[in-house]
Symmetry: C2
Subunit: 355 residues, 2 copies
């Protein structure tokens, strides 16, 4: 039997800790895994593109555990009442090849993306950062807001979305949280207005095109830009000149993948970037002065999902009582008798329904 | 909600049709999909190797449906009472990126592999083939025996395995089937003895090494060799000289993958091979005379799993009554409100247990 985390389970697991604490702990797990970066088998994700979206597989392994995530990106889904991004993934035992856990990763991807964003900002943003602009107020935005307020001490959020209803929804959701009682929420009329006075700018827009959400005049000295929405070929958010600004430093997750999918797809392949893992090991410096502009060109990397699956698996086994399992793999008395133990068996399979 | 086929479900679905009929129908689906070979997005599978085994992801898409399979290969698992190969997979909608079906594929891989073997033999073996040697009597062997007796009219099986208990298990399972009442089962003491007088030789051994299960003296004119067990780098079954024998023709599933994983990994990269799809389209000939030696150098290709998942999904929806579904993807009233619709929801998630 394989452990199973569905939507109702992730809801329970996250609600037990609270979203902020969940993401803070997850960020710790991600950081711990990034510190052993060299142990991981890394590859650019395997993408299947269609006219309307992309389906990707993201595998990795540290030689003990193997994980992969299935994730899609379909910007037009929203119009049909569907999610832009859905995901699920599996954690498996390298020694036996057996899957250990199948988990929903739609909610988890939002949590781990925001956890990674806040973790990167802890390493890159100015220590006195207090104001964040949040451009794009869709499915990912609450997670970013909660993670940054908890982990970076953000006290004011400047919100903008082309869809005012999205911003209203974000405000409503954040206002319901006790930890946002003392956080100022400012509705802005444009990205430029939202960026004014921001120490950190987070962009989480969804269009599958080379958009120009931010231009150089919106960037001020000392700013940290957390560019999350541009994450596949032909899908970017920043004007390329921002990346080339004097004093700007671009940090990526896994360079070979980011060259294809990140904001840096707009630049020449030799454009210098720093991998996040190099900061942790001390091999590279992120911010060297309060005037530097740091840009986390985030596309999402398999290691973050590995960390999330490992963390979820541990949380599941911390719970008292039973959790759900599914019969995804046969349990046989004789492993050489797959036929006799399954379809050749006289035992009639019973139809079992699950909610 | 995503349709779910677990071990108990595949047991029910296959028992309803009977394993032979199931594989014959599945072979028809595979053939139909091979006839539109050019419509499929093809790539060599993404393999993660460890000292003791391999974990692979096998995606493909025809632009309407996307599928992938997770499959491991761990020859030493048997000693620990575990399966050498376990697998599961997903069928998804390309237009939305949403998963439609999660299915066990351990049993299904055995069924589709045997269906593919018999399909290839229908195109390659002599029409009067009646005797098959079956080398390796482990988890895959019953499936091969049933498919070949049903689809090729095999009347005698010559069995050999280094483990006599495996052969006894195979005999026991086949003897329980009415359709094997008139099939002769001959226990042999060696591969050489088993190959004597065989029209078709099927090799389904499991060691992860360059084994030499068959050598040229065991091959006779007109023979069809269905080489199934050699399927990853460093895992082969045939002496390389068999592939070079005069009158021999090597047929593979997808050349770029087979060059890495098939028996032909032993040969120079220019060694001529024919893709199975080319036979169906008439672009190439398999057997040109009754004296030819045909070798199906099978490693398993993603299209076959696509066909299997598509077939299973259709069978599931043919059934009266409800089938199992899992909450792998959130269903939201507002797709932009992932947070509010899941972990931000006041509705407390209930713990639901499934068998």
């Amino acid at each position: 039997m394989v452990d199973y985390i569905g939507v109702s389970d992730i809801q329970r697991l996250v609600q037990r800790l609270g979203a902020g604490a969940f993401m803070e702990r997850l960020a710790g797990e991600i950081e711990a895994d990034y510190r052993r970066w060299s142990e991981f088998e890394k590859s650019a994700r395997l993408a299947s593109h269609s006219k309307v979206g992309v389906i990707e597989l993201m595998p990795t392994s540290d030689g003990r555990l193997y994980s992969f995530k299935y994730v899609n990106g379909h910007p037009k889904n929203t119009a049909a009442g569907l999610l832009t991004v859905t995901a699920f993934g599996v954690l498996a035992d390298v020694d036996t090849g057996y899957p250990l856990l199948l988990s929903e990763l739609t909610v988890t991807t939002a949590l781990r993306t925001a956890a990674m964003s806040a973790l990167a900002a802890k390493w890159l943003a100015r220590r006195d950062s207090a104001v964040m602009a949040l451009i794009g107020n869709g499915a990912q935005s609450e997670f970013q807001a909660i993670a940054f307020c908890r982990m970076l001490g953000i006290r004011a959020l400047r919100l903008y979305d082309v869809d005012g209803a999205a911003t209203a929804k974000l405000e409503r959701n954040l206002r319901a949280l006790p930890e946002f009682a003392a956080v100022t929420l400012v509705r802005c009329r444009s990205t430029a207005e939202a960026c004014k006075g921001a120490d950190i700018v987070t962009t989480v827009t969804a269009d599958k095109k080379n958009a120009v959400i931010m231009t150089p005049p919106m960037v001020s000295a000392g700013m940290h830009i957390n560019a999350v929405g541009g994450d596949c070929p032909g899908k970017t958010e920043l004007h390329g000149d921002i990346l080339r600004m004097p004093g700007a430093r671009v940090i990526v997750e896994y360079e070979p993948q980011s060259r294809i999918e990140g904001e840096i797809q707009q630049l020449e392949p030799e454009f210098p970037v720093t991998e996040f893992a190099a900061l942790l090991g001390g091999a590279a410096t992120g911010r060297s002065s309060d005037a530097d502009i740091t840009i986390f060109d985030s596309v999402g990397f398999a290691l973050q999902d590995y960390s999330a699956l490992r963390f979820l698996h541990a949380l599941l086994h911390e719970e008292r009582g039973s959790h759900r399992k599914i019969d995804l793999v046969p349990q046989l008395e004789d492993p050489k008798d797959l036929y006799g133990g399954t379809i050749g068996s006289g035992k009639r399979a019973r139809l079992r329904l699950t909610g």
